[in-house]
Symmetry: C2
Subunit: 339 residues, 2 copies
Amino acid sequence: MSVFPKFLVCIAIFGILAGGAATLAQSADPLPSWNDGPAKQAIVNFVRATTDPANTQFVPPEERIATFDNDGTLWCEQPMPAQFYFALDRLKVLAPQHPEWNTEEPFASLLKGDLKTALAGGDQALLALLVATHAGTTTAEFEQSVKEWVATAKHPKTGKLYTEMVYQPMLELVAYLRANGFKTFIVSGGGIEFMRAWAEKVYGLPPEQVIGSSMKTEFEMRDGQPVLVRLPELNFNDDKGGKPVGINQHIGRRPVMAFGNSDGDREMLEYTQGGSGARFMLLVLHDDAVREYAYGPAKGLPDVRLGAFTQALYDQAKKNGWTVVSMKEDWKHIFAFDK
Amino acid sequence: MSVFPKFLVCIAIFGILAGGAATLAQSADPLPSWNDGPAKQAIVNFVRATTDPANTQFVPPEERIATFDNDGTLWCEQPMPAQFYFALDRLKVLAPQHPEWNTEEPFASLLKGDLKTALAGGDQALLALLVATHAGTTTAEFEQSVKEWVATAKHPKTGKLYTEMVYQPMLELVAYLRANGFKTFIVSGGGIEFMRAWAEKVYGLPPEQVIGSSMKTEFEMRDGQPVLVRLPELNFNDDKGGKPVGINQHIGRRPVMAFGNSDGDREMLEYTQGGSGARFMLLVLHDDAVREYAYGPAKGLPDVRLGAFTQALYDQAKKNGWTVVSMKEDWKHIFAFDK
């Protein structure tokens, strides 16, 4: 007997051991950053029921669509969403080419660092900032500017990179659903091309699984090169009633699961629940002022400018059987760095 | 020795044989309906080069995006695209609710079967037909009406179902690319929801891989049910320069391969070629009046109302190194039923 068969036996034994380890890993807790409780249990029960062909709630793989809001659902959106800080930094970069911004609002106040005065202009001020900082370049140039920004920009409170401000329990949830044959999509009011620049690296979501608000673009031959130019005009507002519209436009199927955290997600959850068969809707309530932020105004939590979770939404969630996650109670860890 | 080990040996042998058969099938011609020639060779060479990690032309799996026009590229578009006949049939169904159509053009002529007078109104007449027949319902109702129509509607020349009017060589090509890790998308001037209703069954393409022109939709609670209503307004025209815009919006990556057949596909092919690394562009020339239709006007072929392949496009293809498929020369079979 040469050493060869022995080697093969070793491979066979290693294979059995490795297989055993894999089985063990699969049966281990897929949501380790979630505390045991009704929210975690509801998720696990739903996934088990919808992936079991013998269960009446079984959902065929091609219909397993799960949609996630981004700001406040997958990552931190306070004190302002990351895209706002990106726009602000870009405004400073572009300012030397725009002397008129020194007197025009909201630009003058933004450049002086007076956010309060600037934001007093409401949604119009935010839209003006967006248009001024998100248009004029090609799509490739814009992507590059976002990539450079997220590589270094830090959250004002934690000093962490924005891409570290993602919720560890939600990363585990996305991975758990994907491992169970769900196709996971972001459906966000945020900019589609802003998110796509880093979503693949951070969430493992390819660009075609990221849906968001967008600027109009136009095909152009520029110096003999075919490019898409970003125009200073909003193309689509992927928020509130726009979310089901965006889902239908991009995915073409009604989701089976939907995840959000604010009034902007209400219609997405309603639309998801409106389909036939098993459905799962979840809202994240930010009630942890110590580890993250506490805001509502549901349940008497402080009111905020963006990302409001109203009492009416809370009442609707309770009435409709939507799961409400308490970040304080349901999440063992919030960020990978608070472990 | 009981029968048990023998049974196991049989399984092992069967496994080896089955494995052998699979290897044989994989090495068999993946494009049997294509004649050997430069077009087929160019496709196979490109796929081999871009999927071989040792080749300088290698393309990572996540970047293997291939986009296909639909009408005239994947299925027959003459004498008029199927969606036109769908609209015409729907006009007749809806006519009793619209007595005004008996005098209004293009409806009056269309209802009388006088297509020539109706189409003299040009694109405006077609748009009016589209809006009148594609709006007013929910997205679910519209999908149902398309499904019912394609189940029975027949092509006016061949008498075959429209879903049988798909090009067998292109079905093989889509399957071949998919087997090699390419993600295949339809990018068509046709209606996105018209195509999605049957594309999964006919092409194996899930709705999120179908991009097309669309009507505006609006989220609404109707009788307590959350629905999307189709509005009588064009949302997006996915043709010419709109194709790269639609690709960027839905896929968020520049394709590596693009397939078309008319001037409406020019910008998609230019945009595809404009990326760095290996690229493949192909146009189907309809030069087979016997087995399908012959139209150009490139190469002196007859001119047509829709789907024109101009001489300028033909010259650009030759100059830019795009592959031009002659249906007459390059395709052994055109439809599954002409085998």
